[in-house]
Symmetry: D2
Subunit: 284 residues, 4 copies
């Protein structure tokens, strides 16, 4: 973001060819839109672009921009979207009883640091209800025992009702079924408590202790039906020493999980992530 | 900390001489105390030691340990203390209206990550009272206009009443007078939003922008009467690019401030900090 | 850089206005040039752009590109340049007797990691001549005692003769006069052994020790006539502890100096740096 | 290391029990040895200790120290060693044709940064001989085609002749057989170009590209007969973005490989590593 606040963000992707930048920026010039930051990247024959800037002419609604650009997009067979940087994405948080990650998101939302509209917290642990109630956040208790089809149905009803732009798994610790993902049809970001692809699955810190690694990490990724295999958005690590027990690792690991998750959410809010063929483009 | 949980922590310092380790560890051996971690450091003729471990013999109270060690300490002219790792230090938080740092401490306290006993929040901004009340934290509004002697008197009364082991300035943004420090007589940790000694004083991010630095940082330090000159406990930095406005710097800077402050508090809670002649010994 | 190797790099800057991207990318589209990476940034009313990509049409010489773009540049009052990514910038290294930084550059040049054409090493210490001779690098001994006008004249003659694109001060430890800089008229990159603006001038590690900082750093910057005040290109830090003596700091500091200097040179070689009004734009 | 240079380093390990520190430091006190740094760690019932300091009494040879401590060691069933910090370990370097890592070690050896005695470079690529000859380093060409028993025999003869304290695999890219390891009977440090346990085996950067990780790393570890499974000594990572091709990863990866390898060698030289049951104790 730049000193002059941007008013419109544009994201697009299509098959690469000569002249795409000229075509797209030509459109913006014609609308008297001043591009403050443009990042374009091509790889493996595919073209990705993100633009932000200011309307020097009259201000136009996101809907208007979207409609005006449509003919170009159709011609180029381009996926695209326009966004208002001030718009707050609606978020639903899934968690278990571990509070560190959920409270990180909640306190950043309360302090104004994360521009989100936090719609609800869903958990399979009733014991965190008092905290959520105290904080004034709608809380849904959905136990995850018994038939997964039944409890996933409940979860999907909450999602339908909250209509979120994003579901965040803040150490939810349960695997969502392929059916759930297909039904939910919105991006889901998970925080995994290891530096993927190391230590997939359960108890990564125990695995890390046994292997004697000198750094432990965390990975925020989009959820796909393959466990811990979704496209990676943000990763970070923290240095540990031989004196770290598994418990110590969990403690400093929680710090890095929180940082990584918050950082991924910020990228999401700023419309800087494009998810393509198992990898992400994450603009600076 | 080690896989076997430690039961006693010992911290000591005195003038260096041959045989100190033998003398001190001999005492512990005599008490059937198993040392799980020992770190000793000497510099400029001074000796620093931290020990943690387990009582293989009968468990003894902190008070008993303190008394038993006294003759050795007197002989060596040693400052020392014994601590129970499970004891929670009492903390009073000073802040202004910026919520990021206070909420970081509070959410870590709520999630159990920081083993503290949060006694009160003191602020010169009434607007944060509702949040603190919602969270069930005793809030004291002390406006800092007018005669500093008067409002510092009020602050000292709150400190006296809460009897904290530590005061944390979580972006309090006001300078405490030398008189206040002399009266309070407890450690005070401040978080400064720059990598000290760069950008002392106000508006470090504006200073950083103008200088065009490529990293911004935060520093947790003990407060002394010289502004931003107290002994440094923890520092860290985060990479920024040319595209970062002052506002962007403030946002990612807040992340690093929170991490650094939490990290310093953890070191304090674990009795790993010794403050000596303007520098700190911070054990791993 | 992308999977498909780029063939041309374009760098430009001018006063910002609506339509610049369209104008510039329109030119490239007209030449059947496929843009693989485009980064554009505007700040404080100024426009910066870097483009790299492939010629889908016939290959054209840098000179041809430069001439063809000239009318647009004139019209927009734009500073610009075209570069061949395979071209090796000519470099002259200034150093004293400390070998770590010069040997870093030299070994990266020998291993092919830094695509430079190393023309000469200039030093005020005769004792490093044998090493340079062994490595087959032209060595110039220019003592820096006596009248600075006289020895700077000799240095300028070497520069004139080697015709470098860049002078690198690899721990040269001497201040170049404003007259020298005016005469040399090429970019000069210096490595300073601290995290600027902390610890300007001599003995930064002694200063760091006294202040008790927990990180030490290094800064690569363009040289201007104000000591250690030139535009910063790359900075990095490394964590230290209380147990680090000044000597230890020098040792780990040297590591970070080398990394930072090499990283700045790589950015220079890749034509990713624009120096503007005391700050640098450093593209990713 | 401390401001006062240490004269003796002691390393020890044995089964843990109460009173070990007292016993060991009592011995040193009796010899008028002033301990400047002591680090002791216990885990899983095992005790590790490293001591460095100064002889306040008369200076004694390493051999004398070793003999005097022997009765205590026998009684405690302790593995131990005494070292002179100024002694330079003898090193043999194994490499292929990639020069970055070998040149890093060599240039640090030339600049005095790594206190080693570099005895020879062994490679299966004749093409690097001219560089090594120019640098005045004994070079042994051992092609690794055909029967591994034959060429490993040659390698073992070189090792026997050079009598190194350490073999460093500086991107040697060949697996050493269990027989070789059993014969060589000295520590062997390898640098693996990934953050283990991610991306074991060949082409880790290709694997990293496909997985879309956001950090790439390097790992220095002791070589055991299980590929890339040896005890980890040092690890580090560097941030990458979507725009990094495999080639770009290799380039920045090489930087981190060099840093990590040099850092592991420094720990080895400073006698700070203890290898125990698949994990390393690495003192600060």
């Amino acid at each position: 973001m730049t000193q002059t606040a941007s008013e419109i963000i544009f994201l697009g992707q299509c098959k690469d060819q000569v002249g795409l930048d000229a075509r797209i920026t030509g459109f913006f010039a014609g609308e008297l839109f001043n591009i403050l930051d443009l990042a374009q990247h091509s790889e493996r024959g595919h073209f990705f672009i993100r633009i932000e800037g200011c309307e020097e002419g009259e201000r136009q609604a996101i809907q208007t921009w979207t409609e005006k650009f449509f003919p170009i997009a159709r011609e180029l067979d381009m996926e695209y979207s326009f966004h208002d940087p001030l718009e707050r994405p609606r978020v639903v948080l899934f968690c278990s009883k571990t509070l560190a990650c959920p409270l990180e998101i909640i306190s950043r939302w309360m302090s104004g640091d994360l521009r989100i509209d936090l719609r609800a917290v869903v958990s399979n642990h009733l014991e965190i209800e008092p905290v959520m109630t105290k904080l004034g956040i709608p809380f849904h208790y959905v136990p995850t025992t018994g038939d997964s089809k039944l409890f996933e149905k409940k979860q999907l009803e909450i999602i339908e009702q909250c209509d979120p732009d994003l579901v965040v798994l803040a150490r939810y610790m349960k695997i969502l079924s392929a059916e759930f993902l297909a039904e939910a049809r919105i991006p889901i970001i998970n925080i995994h408590h290891s530096f993927l692809p190391s230590f997939i699955g359960n108890n990564p810190y125990e695995q890390a202790y046994r292997r004697g690694v000198k750094l432990i990490g965390a990975t925020a990724h989009f959820v796909t039906s393959a466990l811990d295999e979704g496209p990676i958005i943000v990763q970070d690590v923290v240095r540990i020493g031989h004196q770290f027990s598994v418990l110590d690792m969990k403690q400093v690991g929680a710090d890095i999980e929180k940082q990584v998750l918050a950082s991924a959410l910020r990228k999401f809010i700023e419309h800087k992530i494009i998810d393509w063929q198992g990898r992400t483009i994450v603009f600076h």
